[in-house]
Amino acid sequence: MSRPRSASVVLALLRAQLRLELRTFESLPAMCLFSVTAFLLFHFGLDVDSLSGNLASGVLWVTLLLAALLAINRVYVADAEQGGFDAFVLSPAERSTLLLAKTLVLLIYLAAVELVAVPAFAILLLEPSLWQAMPSLLGALVLGNIGIAVIGALVGALAVRTQARDLLGPLVSLPLLVPVLLGVARWTAPLFDAPRANAVALRWPLVLALYDAVFGLIAFALFDFLLED
């Protein structure tokens, strides 16, 4: 049997995972609900009606990061419990296609959640207008999401076949995600300042891109070893 083209394998895996999500709605609604609830928690916990600057940026990104953990914990569960891993390993497909497919799935989930969470954040908590921050915020969302998705796809696979997967997933991925949080939060903080500072440091986009690239390579190099039995 000839080896199938990687792109078509990735597409098939992606379609399967999205269909599963559309049938069960395990992750996405929970993530959206969690984000809005977290904004409420911050409102009551911090006792503020509106946020700007550092605090706004931190609240938004911590919420998105914690919402992402919900997906990272669940994204491989069907493969581990229903024999998806075994079937995939028996197929002639390249192993790293699974990593790529799961990364894309996480990216799609994150984008979908942000479609709900970012407007909700702007309405509920953000003091300055969202529109002026938009172009740079989109950039931060893209680079931040890539980092979260890559690390999530690797750590999710590492944690899913252990006996404490719900604990180990967050415990291992959060320290690895702190540099991502640092990058995006520092990047977007000036965007949320009430009198807007115009200069956006080029440093944080570069740092994020580099971090995403480094962990992308690490995940790509190591993923095969997680699938060997």
Binding site: L154, L158, T162, Q163, P175, I218, D229
Partner: protein, 248 residues
């Protein structure tokens, strides 16, 4: 095999640690600003350097494990992380004491070195729980190596990124040393670095020897057909060499 030469190594290490302590306490001058408290620097900084180098070394050993599939490399990587974790706790404690003396607080957030070190420690604190949560020894070793490589790469990257955050209060040790540390302090610092390195290696060799001997004894018992009254091997975070064909 790991026990060979362990006694002279231990003696050299003990002598060098004693010499370092004597030199740091009695020979090196007191710091003009911090006074006697500055002596903790000779313990704290080398311990921190060794902790981080140990983590990176464990990552390299894990690469060797994934390449060769020799479980002994997994054992080496495990022991390296174990020793470095212990050193790391000592770093956090000595660092806190130093911070309290120098800056008046037990913990300072605006210092990138301190924060990244804590982050690295929090990441490595999950290494043993991860191992413990996997029962199959072969898969445990493989997953642990994947973790050790990822985390080993995270160590330098994390330090570079957190340092970009603007505030600096931590003394930049290595640049200070070439810059403005007086001669005697410099000598004592390098002496301390050498003896802590020796200490790390000695402890690593001791633990490797202990694990090896335990595996050999278990194998000999099995060869003698002796039914051991030990309970069947418990689930364990530590790698065991029982699934190796022959223990050399």
């Amino acid at each position: 095999m790991y026990g060979k030469g362990l006694r002279p190594l231990s003696l050299i290490t003990a002598a060098s640690v004693a010499l370092t302590l004597a030199a740091a306490l009695f020979w090196a001058p007191n710091d003009a600003y911090l006074g006697f408290l500055q002596k903790i620097f000779y313990v704290h900084v080398p311990l921190a350097i060794l902790t981080l180098c140990g983590f990176v070394a464990a990552g390299l050993m894990a690469i060797a494990h994934l390449r060769t599939r020799d479980p002994r490399w997994d054992m080496r990587s495990y022991v390296a992380i174990h020793i470095s974790l212990i050193f790391g706790v000592a770093v956090l404690i000595t660092g806190s004491i130093w911070a309290r003396g120098a800056w008046g607080h037990w913990w300072v957030w605006n210092d990138p070195t301190l924060v990244s070190f804590l982050l690295v420690m929090l990441l490595y604190a999950t290494y043993q729980p991860l191992r413990f949560a996997i029962e199959d020894p072969e898969r445990q070793a493989r997953y642990a190596s994947v973790f050790a490589i990822t985390a080993g790469a995270f160590v330098p990257v994390n330090f570079a990124i957190v340092r970009l955050a603007p505030a600096y209060v931590h003394p930049r040790t290595l640049s200070n040393i070439s810059g403005n540390l007086p001669g005697r302090m410099q000598v004592v610092f390098y002496l301390a670095l050498l003896s802590i390195t020796l200490l790390w290696i000695t402890l690593w060799r001791f633990e490797m020897t202990a694990k090896h001997v335990a595996a050999q004894i278990r194998q000999l018992r099995r060869l003698m057909g002796e039914e051991t009254d030990e309970a069947p091997l418990r689930r364990s975070a530590a790698p065991s060499l029982t699934h190796v064909g022959s223990v050399s």
